[in-house]
Symmetry: none
Subunit: 217 residues, 4 copies
DNA sequence: AATGAATGAGGTTTCATTCAT
DNA sequence: AATGAATGAAACCTCATTCAT
């Protein structure tokens, strides 16, 4: 289906552009990202970039939209698997870890945009994000009803799950720089999936309903 | 003993500049922040800004340095208070919450810089950050020795404590935008101190050493 | 086959820019030359100037490179003509005079850069200059072997030939200013070619091997 | 006489400023020279520099004026010594070499200003320079009358004498840079006085009246 | 679908000079 | 005689975007 045999033409320009944009946005952030460099990495003419996708803001929105969709897919898949609230909850950081494994630029872009207060995203896209929060809320409330979780603020739990994971994913890069300067204890979590498991383990125990105290005599 | 009675001169120019810089960096991020606007907010001539503090990068470093120092102070104060590992650990998110209360721009700048991988900070400043991690590690290991915590990766705990808090602080702003669009359940943590308590409560229970199981009869 | 009929478009933008740059560098010197003015004289947008050639330093280097090439061409042409050391030597100031006639800004730029110690030129370009010195050295040494020149430092001869010519070319402008103030004897060399001849005449006699003294009877 | 014992106060501020200005003007040229740096080198407050000498243009003029005066003094001294036209003529490059030995920045400033066409000097100062030319002219014309020089353009001779010397003085710095890149024959004139002697030797022979041709039989 | 050229606005930084004390 | 602070203009350069072909 490729139009030419040129090395980069095997993948459609739009795809190349979005990938290039993602990587530059991740590395530099929205403002510091240069349209010039995105075009260069996509091996595309700058004008073509406008032709195929649109201006810088559109570029960014498309990139973010794709990852949000992927998160939603992962969570949808998890929904079907089991209705154990503990498994449901653990699926949240794991979904993020999976998408991050697929698209390494994702945690950086996401954290940057959170820090920016969503400044580069339109209303509709923010609303999409809400669906992810809703997933966690249902799990927490389900667990509560079933007596496996104590009463906790579901939003707090969500933010801890996701925040911890994204934070860890990003901090790793900074940590590597520090390790280049001074030797550090050797305990960084190896990969994000491992981190995701560590996070849900702690949080699940953290919100578990304590066993009924032994009744006083 | 202010030098002049002019409305903005009650506080030293350097202070005004750093405060203005902090607010602009928080709102816009390093690259999108304009020296022009920083100067305007500081009510200072653009050239004066260079005279008093230095270029944009220096400006940023000074701002970050100040908040790191404040975090270190808060933790140092907590160190003196008690040697209960649980209290020590709870002091970490609380220190961040306190500094954030004092300097509202802090969580945003910090999260942005984490997402940037420390790109705008010199090596020495990254090293300073290590001291904060060390505080958590000592608390976790102390708790372990005393038998109140189970064996967990201290770095993971640290990143969860700090990451959760910073993430919550930032997500709040995005959340408010969403709330303007569609009504949401009314459960956002009121202030950061409350969030800090919620976080440490969950994590402390999450890493607590389980009581010895009663032996089966 | 000009692209447009617009009045300034008959000559390629890059050419116009280099010419404009040359004239401004000559008039004002590297530091005082304004990119703004270069663009104006080239009838080009300031950004286009960066697009077509590069920054101020690059602009300068390209201009200098062109004239060095021209000098080398002139000398190469002279090499083929004759192998009389006297003619070879005379070709040196004449080459400079010819290039100066073609590009009036050349002596000024060159003298300015000599005075700057080559501060705006990269190593490779300085090396190019060496080839010109080598030409003179070969002529002087050739003349020595053939017994027409006495033993003199070839570098000294080179610097006198070139220095005199460039100095005269530049002093003329200053001299004109003086003449506007007070009347002067009417003896300025008319053009640079004449000056070049005057210079080589004096220097050739100056380094000529004196005839063998008539032996005393 | 010194007002204070402070290390830099033994020499009057005005002197320090002029010396600092001279060195910066020599190194960087008029436009690139920064008032800031001049003040720093003079160990003087920037405002004081304006108080003691004046603005940048004035600073420059004072520096140039001083060296012109010194050249005039040297030539005046030479006038008294002998009335041999050859010695008179040789005194010209030697005067420049002497002043250069005293004030190393002099040849650079001078050559730069020649290249600038005197742009930074007022009319009166240009006129002063004329007196130097006049010295050479008298020597050349005197020598002509006495039958030791042939008929040559005195201005040409002057420009060759002075131009060669200044050119050599400046080229030396560029030459050193080249030598750092590639090894070169070892024949640079050691110091300027030696160069001055080399120059006048060649030029004196170059304009010497040829011995009467042996009359044709 | 593709490109090189064009553009205007804006970015950061520096500079010579002066003022208030 | 001396200083730190102030200022406005201008410097160089980059950017996102569009146009003509």
């Amino acid at each position: 289906m490729a139009k030419r045999a040129a090395p980069n033409a095997v993948v459609e320009p739009r795809r190349r552009i979005l990938d290039a944009a993602a990587s530059v946005f991740a590395e530099r952030g929205f403002s510091a990202a240069g349209v010039e460099e995105i075009a260069r990495r996509a091996e595309v003419n700058k004008a073509m970039l406008y032709y195929h996708v649109g201006d810088k803001a559109t570029l960014f929105r498309e990139v973010v939209l794709e990852v949000i969709r992927r998160i939603q897919e992962e969570l949808a898949a998890a929904t079907g698997t089991s209705d154990d609230p503990r498994k449901r909850l653990a699926a949240v950081p794991m979904a993020f870890a999976r998408v991050a494994a697929e698209r390494p630029y994702f945690p950086q872009i996401m954290l940057r945009e959170i820090a920016a207060g969503g400044a580069h995203l339109p209303d509709e896209m923010l609303v999409e994000i809400t669906s992810v929060v809703a997933f966690t809320r249902r799990a927490v409330e389900g667990g509560r009803r079933k007596g496996v979780f104590r009463g906790v603020n579901p939003l707090l739990v969500h933010l801890m799950l996701v925040g911890s994971l994204l934070f860890i994913a990003n901090a790793t890069r900074m940590r590597r720089r520090i390790e280049d300067i001074q030797p550090l204890p050797r305990n960084t979590p190896k990969d994000l999936a491992t981190a995701a498991r560590g996070i849900s383990e702690i949080i699940l125990q953290g919100i578990a309903k304590p066993r009924a105290r032994r009744r006083r005599p």
